[in-house]
Symmetry: C2
Subunit: 187 residues, 2 copies
DNA sequence: ATGGGGGTAGACAGACCTGTCTACCTGAGC
DNA sequence: GCTCAGGTAGACAGGTCTGTCTACCCCCAT
């Protein structure tokens, strides 16, 4: 998930805010990150910030949208790099889970944090996961069971994502995930 | 997960605080719940609160410990009610995921919310999940593969827990979980 | 009967939160 | 040359957060 962006100076104010917010929200959590900090670290004036994002919730929406695009592109690319078949799934995920900046799934974390006060994030997460499931289905062999298999693998991936967040290393999660994928595709 | 407690009046101040904090933390999130609200809703004086829990993090620790005991007891009981074998797993989980007050796993949510500022919750979550995995292993048939199967099922359960949090109903998650459990135990 | 442990009520400090507002600057297009 | 869109800097309001502190009270065991 290391996606290099162009040097900060060439980005528009809006993009600088969005990149900064992404990094802070993903790493520290949304509630833990004050608007003031986003403003300070993106090197923008307060008025400029509020012109682009009238409220913090607008920024949260933009953050999740940005994250969604970036993650889907990374996922498609990484699956392709690993051959684009069913065997690409676990190694591709492994790259992410082993990233030192890994902090879990932005959507799962945001739902856990904000669903109570900002329920719209639930729908956003559901839409994201539906696209992930479709991307998984696309690498599975065509068969009557493909949709069900993709659902089950997507669920197991969510489990691996969460487990890698509190285990000391992601290896056990990857091993369990591999076992599940293998059992599902054999059945 | 509906565990009825004795009438509020007979509880000690500490227990009243703990029950109130549990309900608010679990339902609304920890950061979203101010100490003042816990104090007001548990009907206790501020000084009393701070005598029992010198800081909010102490309350968080107590909340997770309380939740852990309550959940493990509920899980053991519910597995037993469903026959205590491998086939008890999905129906037992189903009872939880279908509970109208269901809001996901307290430990997963807390890690997502607080890991950045209070890393101790990661260890607490890991210890909780290790006990859950042991409880799962206890209902599986003895075999060379039992430990690995229990790990994989525990991971799939985490996935189902998360998925049921953002899906409109938990049924798809339960179906996918059942498919995974079946495939793993056949293999 | 009296001393003290544990409780109540609530003011207060100081930090941080989101969001508004004023005043000024700069550079590109007309 | 002037206008104006879009930027900067930062004071300010009003709320909420955690945590401290004073002052009082009540019940029970010594």
């Amino acid at each position: 998930m290391a996606t290099d962006h162009p040097a900060v100076e060439v980005l528009s104010a809006r993009d600088r805010i969005l990149h900064t917010a992404h990094d802070l929200f993903y790493c520290d959590g949304i509630r833990a990150t004050g608007i003031d900090r986003v403003i300070a670290e993106s090197g923008v004036a307060k008025l400029t910030f509020y012109r682009h994002f009238p409220s913090k919730n607008d920024l949260v929406r933009a953050y999740l949208d940005f994250r969604h695009r970036r993650w889907m592109a990374w996922f498609a690319d990484t699956l392709a790099r690993h051959g684009g078949g069913p065997d690409a799934l676990v190694p591709a995920l492994g790259e992410w889970l082993r990233d030192p900046d890994y902090r879990g799934c932005a959507f799962i974390n945001t739902v856990g944090e904000l669903a109570g006060s900002f329920p719209e994030v639930i729908e956003i997460a559901r839409a994201h996961k539906a696209e992930v499931t479709a991307a998984i289905a696309a690498v599975l062999p065509a068969s009557r069971k493909r949709a069900g298999q993709a659902q089950a693998i997507a669920l197991a991936i969510d489990g691996a994502i969460v487990r890698a967040q509190y285990d000391e290393t992601p290896e056990a999660a990857l091993e369990a995930l591999a076992r599940i994928v293998k059992a599902l595709l054999k059945a």
